[in-house]
Amino acid sequence: MQDLEDTKLNDEKEIQRRIRKSRLFSRIMIVMSLVTLIPLFAIVGQVFFNGILRLNWELFTELQPPPGRSGGGVLNAIMGSFMILLLALVMAVPIAILAGIFIAEFKSGKKSKFLIGFIYSCCNVLQSMPAIVIGVVAYTWVVRPMGGFSMFSGSVALCLMMLPYIVINTVEIMALIPHVVKEAGYALGGTFYKVVFRIILPIAFPGILNGIFLSLGRVLGEAAPLLFTAFGNPYLSFDIVEPVASLPVVIFQFSISPYQTWKDIGWGASFILLFGIILVNIISKKFSKRFSPH
């Protein structure tokens, strides 16, 4: 009898041991997860506090000051980033959406499976391509023939970076649309073209827009592709064939410079950039919520 009592006690102790081990593990996991977030708060906090101090009318309206002089702002960079991105969007969105439609439509074909898989893999590869490689290539394709840096070449580089994101997103959104909708369209006698544009795209539109915003947010902060294409410009420029400043490049230049005044402006520019990215992400989330398929 005593043996039975002892084994039962040992069993219970064993179970308690395992439970304690599991609890310890869970606690360690969650602590490690929270520790990972410490640098995030450090970075965002630093940008926020340093940036907010510099946030004044000057930052938004003035141009780059000469080294050593205080004051000045990043209007040239803000406008430049805006224009480069707009042009890049105009170039990337039509091609990417149409490519996505093609892939989504022929994904299920028997003969075309290999081809579609290949194209999709190419999208994945292009998505992971280092930004600096895209920059070098855009330099070779656009800057060299044009004979100089330009906003256009910067937009080409960013367009190359945005394409795979929008394509992949479009394909995923199209996959969410129920077959019956498409088939109903065909049953009513619609051609492929009409079914796509009158039925599928309107339904997919919010999701696709969401993807466009996300790719925008991703590309907004890229400096590497613009280093050898749009290059930089201390003056305000609206000319497509002239070099133009952009926020990420300006932050890069200011941060490695030895001038404290420039570094100060850099924090302000970082704040604007980070704020812009967060804004774009929030807008895209709002879109996907408002128009989510009911």
């Binding site: 593990f25 149409l98 490519a99 280092p130 990420p248 941060s255």
Partner: protein, 293 residues
């Protein structure tokens, strides 16, 4: 007649979107050819020594990318080792242990924000905050206090790939069928034991695939690494010494490269980056795809 016109419009549209879709592989091929063509001059002159020699000499026009190959792969390796425990912890916390709770959602959201912060801002913060800290550390440990250098860059790189590998880990953990886990729980397994004996074996190949994909991302990371690696064209003498990576050498020297061979060599470095991106992406995706069947 109407039907004929419609038919023509149909075919035109289908061909048009086919061309659009083909743009992507064509772009990749063009990128490859551009880099190859750019590298041809230097390759003619230097040959395969380019990939082995550590001698990067613009004056003697003798270029060897050994230092940068080491810089990129070593920083990626160290970054992955540093990042893996933390990204696994996040995957477990959010995907399994505390799934659905408010704190898990908070962690998941915050980790996503990490990936939204641009590389230049992280680099800037690194210069302003991390470098002085590293100088303190290096003084304390008795190393020359460079501040920027191999370890600083690896630390920041680790931080930057955590979101990516954590989300991969989470995706892969969600692939484990509920029945397996519930069977284990019904047999009296604790959460830790379920992870160890059910989830981990199931996702182990997915983790390896994620490893490849994360490595591919880390290899290509440019701005933050460039700002923190120290920019010295020699192999690091110790863990904290400055060196250079493939992406940082291109950033630093491409705009002011002197001589055709110099520029051509930089194209060669870009070519190596391209090839490794293709390899890691294809292998990584393939491994993960095998897991989903």
């Amino acid at each position: 007649m109407n039907a004929l016109r419609r038919e023509k419009k149909e075919r035109f549209f289908k061909t048009f979107i086919l061309i659009c879709a083909f743009c992507i592989p064509i772009i990749l091929v063009l990128i490859f050819l551009t880099l190859l063509e750019g590298f041809s001059d230097a390759f003619e002159k230097i040959g395969y020594r380019f990939f082995i020699s550590g001698d990067w000499d613009p004056v003697k026009e003798n270029f060897g990318s050994g230092v940068f190959l080491f810089g990129t792969f070593a920083t990626t390796f160290v970054a992955l080792i540093l990042a893996l425990p933390f990204s696994m912890a996040i995957s477990f916390t959010v995907g399994e242990l505390f799934r659905g709770t408010r704190i898990a959602n908070f962690i998941a959201g915050a980790v996503e924000i990490i990936s939204a912060v641009p590389s230049v801002i992280i680099g800037f913060w690194g210069i302003a905050v991390l470098v002085p800290l590293m100088i303190e550390l290096q003084n304390f440990l008795g190393y020359t206090p460079y501040g920027t250098g191999f370890f600083t860059a690896s630390l920041v790189l680790a931080f930057m790939i955590i979101p990516f590998s954590a989300s991969l880990g989470r995706e892969v953990i969600m692939l484990v069928p509920r029945e397996y886990k519930e069977a284990a729980f019904s047999l009296g397994a604790t959460r830790f034991e379920v992870i160890r004996k059910v989830i981990l074996p199931y996702v182990s190949s997915g983790i390896v695939g994620g490893f490849f994909l994360a490595a591919g991302r880390a290899i290509g990371e440019t701005m933050a690494v460039t700002m923190l690696i120290g920019n010295v064209n020699y192999l690091p003498g110790n863990l904290f010494a400055p060196t250079n990576t493939m992406s940082s050498i291109i950033v630093n020297e491409f705009a002011e490269a002197t001589g055709a061979i110099h520029i051509s060599s930089l194209y060669g470095v870009g070519l190596v980056l391209f090839i490794f991106t293709v390899i890691t992406t294809v292998i990584g995706k393939w491994i993960i795809k095998k897991l989903t069947f």
